[in-house]
Symmetry: C2
């Protein structure tokens, strides 16, 4: 993937806030694999809406609180 995604997230911070939850544990909680969590956490690609909702739910916050979407990317090619 050449495009590192526009969406950023606070998953790592949220994980620690929830008492050192590991990536593997989060992965199991949301129902995906460890690799997927790592990739999303690093912003390699943006997850599906459903996954975003599930992640937000695990942390007990709103999706807007986990994922940040920058307004209108400058389209810098």
């Amino acid at each position: 993937m050449v495009k590192p995604t526009k969406v950023t997230n606070s998953i790592r911070a949220l994980r620690f806030a929830q008492g050192q939850m590991t990536q593997a544990e989060l992965a199991e909680r949301v129902g995906v694999t460890r690799q997927t969590v790592i990739a999303i956490e690093q912003g390699r690609y943006s997850p599906s809406l459903e996954m975003a909702f599930q992640i937000a739910r695990v942390f007990g916050v709103a999706v807007e609180d986990v994922f940040q979407y920058p307004r209108q990317e400058g389209a810098t090619p």
Copy 2:
């Protein structure tokens, strides 16, 4: 698609609230095709996070306000 998606949405209502915005116009505003908007609006599949953010932005509301995610359904085996 056999699974009609778990995520529902209020796109149609939002479109009308914004003064009869057509599907084609919404599609162009979010940067996708007309078919994609129709499919999402009918809940045939859930969009990506980025698309969800863009749609919410067009309507000037939060993503939670456009898309509703039911909590943990019966876990269909």
